[in-house]
Symmetry: D2
Subunit: 343 residues, 4 copies
């Protein structure tokens, strides 16, 4: 049994970690921390846990109990995670759900997050936690930087094409996300009446996931990438659908592009390539750890790619648990939700 | 032209007042006040007003400009309204959208709102602003206490039956409201992800609209009423549907009950009695000032009554403008929205 | 392993059966039938099953393969189920999700469903599949009539009070249901634009679940019950919240009522009694097989009871699998979803 | 007074025409036709009209009463409109809300709509009803082809830039639409449970509005355009948000692009250019006839453009009435809704 601790367990990603880990057969939750709800039982905080999990939420004392666990998930805010992680790493392994260790380059982080990095010497060691790309390095990593939700939905479909040199920049990424991606904290912008029946683009050209996507695509494509990324806020709770517009370096048929994907993903337990003419929808992935992929040629060298994930699962906590599985030699399918609540 | 001032113009009821008054042919908006957005133009605050109304939001200075207007709408929080209203009444007439002057009895107010009343001597003078019931007194009122949203949906269908002594207590009122009734302020409870796909009962037996309903029904029925009132929060922006369960004092047919309503309401411009077998739905009233009514006999002496209103229109700002029309001798239909946005 | 066949597997209750059974460790799905999609693979019909379950949907031929399975779930329309069930019972056991065998009294069925009953001789043998009430009889039943969704939400909270003679009629039941309760078939009434942002009461006093509730409450209370039942259609996919208004036969405190429930339900794996002052919400049950209960005294002898279920799980397919567990001596918790997708 | 007849008055665009025309001060509705609801009163068909408009829905007989009206709105299905329009034009003017006369080129129509054109000789005469572009020709037109909803949201923001030769192909258009765009007819795809909490791309590269956009952009830009258009179905009732990605032919600053728009649109009553850094959202336009525009530079020559309309108003019936105003010399602002229902 892998013993697990969770820091920041009462936000939406923390609760999603609990949802998944509570039924993971090879995991034991040692402690769950939350500054704000310390001392409360999980079921008081969230009645969905009544008659299911009996667990008291811990306070700061658990920072000294890292030695008791095999891995800590840090679901803390950006900037806060990096304060604790160096200390945690002395005692255990870490999967960090914040953005603090996702960039290779300190300057990019500091430019986009607007704060000095407190542990830049770890940026080289941290492994970007996308198992489909970095599986081998994740196995032995001490520190896994769990990817952002939008980047997950973009990098997975694109990297097999990039690797083959098939994409000519720029890449247009038009993403649409459910509201849970913005977290649980109250805000006038996330008031039901401001989101319901609405749609809006936000942070056009300035969203922090833009440079995260760009850095990864540059690394994987072997040259500077050029990405135009626009996120939109959907009136749904969960789910990201990304529509990508790419130009091919040479003519390739729709069939061959699908074969390329199939070769890359047929053994991947959590990537599903849709057959020609069918496309991903949020409802086929929400609640599961799957990323669904579809594509269509719309011009001789123009392709539209559609991907769908649950932003809290494959886009955050599910991927974190998939990383745990990789890190501890567990079959990657184990303990992760495959079913959706349909309808 | 009736000159109007609005105190507290940037909450949902304030904005609904603006929506209605901006196209009211006999009204001129002199000033709109908001502490928080003072100095901003209306279109900066809310882009829906671009190319429509040019108006700068005022600050506290307008409290001294009551003499310039014929009537002030106070869309201020409970407890705050009563601080300013005595002074305002020296200069103008007031339609108060808060609860501060809705009760005849100071003690009831203080018990339910938990604060001492600052102007109890006005409680006797204030007129409960339900035109269908108190039209004559509203005409000449200096201070109109605009009814609560839930009470509007309950008192209108019941008073014709109460007046005839047709109802044996208790009355069960099961109400369901859209989220805008809770106001615009950010709160974790009103976060999109907490409301969407959810339904919950709240303040069971303790909602402040319970005693408001009870006081009015007691007055109108001529004896102490007994009401069990349970509100629910719906995942919609606007609308209240109230389902009421009453016991008849004697056997009356469904047809005769409908005739009784028709007699009471055929000349009312904003009350619609549905024909036998058809029932109100939110979608037929949202955006309009109508209250729709329907009923069905379900036992020899048991009747189910359904009413529907838009909580921000007939349940708040629309009713306030209907009161303005009555107060200034304007046809009650003028300037009020009758159409809905369907679908 | 219990071998299972499903008739009518592509409606919402059929798909929910599949969702649950696919991860039930003691069940093996032998065949799934659907007239309309016969021959298609499950993943073609519903892409959520890709990389999860490989299964071809069967046609009418499986009616002759009842002998291969230990139990058949009939998720067929009312009126159709009773055509096949007598034959099926010659070969296997049946859990029927239609209404065809829910009534003890043939006349009540025929009056409310408007068709002659084709197998009235089975009405006496069929067991009403509410494990919390009829567990012992379900163990050995050949034919289990799985309860309606609304009745499940009403009978469970009320029967412990009825059994103690604590309730004086009438009982008011105001229920609100998500749209999946109406099935998957296209209809103008269920068009997104007709349901979204709307709420409506329907079949007031004439819904077929009214007599089902009344028959059960009469049996359990030992005397004719009097129930006023009004269902409402919510703009959500899943979930029923029922608000019940009852009069007590004698004064009992809120605490004692909660103790009564605790005594009845503390050992029930799928019933959760909420602590004083807290109440069920859809979001704490949707996706799970739980029924959550809460109550509040609102008068000396007046109580408001709130219950919440997922209409497709505890209200249909989850309960059907709970019945399977009882019928085959499996722990009732096994294979049933306890977690919800929150947010 | 302009006398108006409506053919196909009970679909969503027909009802939206009624919503607008009923309060248009210079219009008189002579008759409203609907095959299916002929003989019913408007309020029977749609209770939102009770106590507002008394009108009996007409049948086929009105096809012979075109001479009584000054203009007919044809809100008939594609393919059906062109059967009746030649005859109608002998007696009156026509604003056609179908796609039948939107293309200049018969072959394009036949290729994309899959049926032979029945009145190709009218294609040259028909004027594409976008007043911001074709106002002068609309004034005297006998037949106005009211634009598609998606094309309206795309052509208006792009044509001032195209006219200046500022755009290098290709143009990426990622559009998101509410469900009312698909019409009122029941369909499994539009069932509440299939749309709610979902998002899907559809008709990728094959939507019929693609060639409509391409033809107009080619005409306006003076050379063959290259457009990649992907529509998505949003879980909202009304509204289209289009996000467009363009490459500039030369470097132009964000400020200068906004000035270009201001020059094109400052006198347009229904086009609103948002100030730098602010972007359109559905909630600021739904229910109104406005199109809102915003843009941001994201690279030296890369621009993201966002537009928002109500698909039933500016995207269909509102634009049709704007065309009526142009055709009959009425101020374009008259009778059209500017206000939104916010929240």
């Amino acid at each position: 049994m892998v013993r697990v601790g969770i820091l920041g367990g009462t936000g939406y990603t923390g609760l999603e970690l609990l949802r998944i880990l509570a039924s993971h057969p090879e995991v034991e939750i040692s402690w769950v921390h939350s500054e704000r709800f310390s001392g409360a039982s999980l079921e008081e905080y969230c009645p969905a846990w009544r008659k299911r999990v009996t667990l008291v939420i811990s306070g700061r004392e658990v920072f000294d109990r890292a030695r008791e666990v095999d891995v800590v998930f840090t679901a803390l805010p950006h900037g806060v995670a990096m304060e604790y992680i160096p200390k945690l790493l002395e005692a255990t392994r870490v999967v960090d759900l914040s953005a603090d260790f996702r960039f290779r380059c300190k300057e990019t982080y500091e430019q986009w997050y607007g704060i000095p990095h407190k542990a830049p010497y770890l940026l080289g060691e941290a492994v970007y936690g996308l198992p489909e790309v970095y599986r081998e390095r994740i196995r032995t990593a001490r520190l896994v930087a769990n990817p952002g939700c939008y980047p997950t939905s973009v990098i997975i479909p694109l990297f097999p094409l990039l690797r083959e040199g098939l994409i000519v920049p720029p890449i247009v990424v038009d993403s649409k996300s459910g509201v849970s991606g913005a977290g649980k904290k109250a805000s006038e912008d996330l008031h039901f009446c401001e989101v319901d029946e609405n749609l809006r683009a936000y942070n056009i050209g300035t969203h922090r996931h833009g440079p995260e996507i760009a850095e990864q695509l540059s690394v994987l494509g072997g040259k500077e990438s050029e990405v135009y990324f626009v996120p939109h806020l959907l009136p749904v709770k969960r789910g990201i659908l990304s529509t990508m517009y790419i130009t091919l370096a040479r003519e390739v048929s729709e069939e061959d592009l699908l074969i390329l994907w199939e070769q890359a993903f047929s053994k991947e337990p959590w990537v599903r390539v849709f057959p020609q003419g069918r496309f991903p929808e949020l409802k086929w992935v929400v609640g599961s750890n799957f990323i669904d992929l579809g594509l269509r040629k719309v011009g001789a060298r123009n392709v539209v790619i559609v991907s769908a994930i649950d932003n809290l699962t494959k886009g955050a906590s599910g991927q974190a648990v998939q990383n745990l599985n990789v890190m501890f030699g567990i079959d990657e399918r184990v303990g992760l939700p495959g079913g959706v609540l349909y309808p």
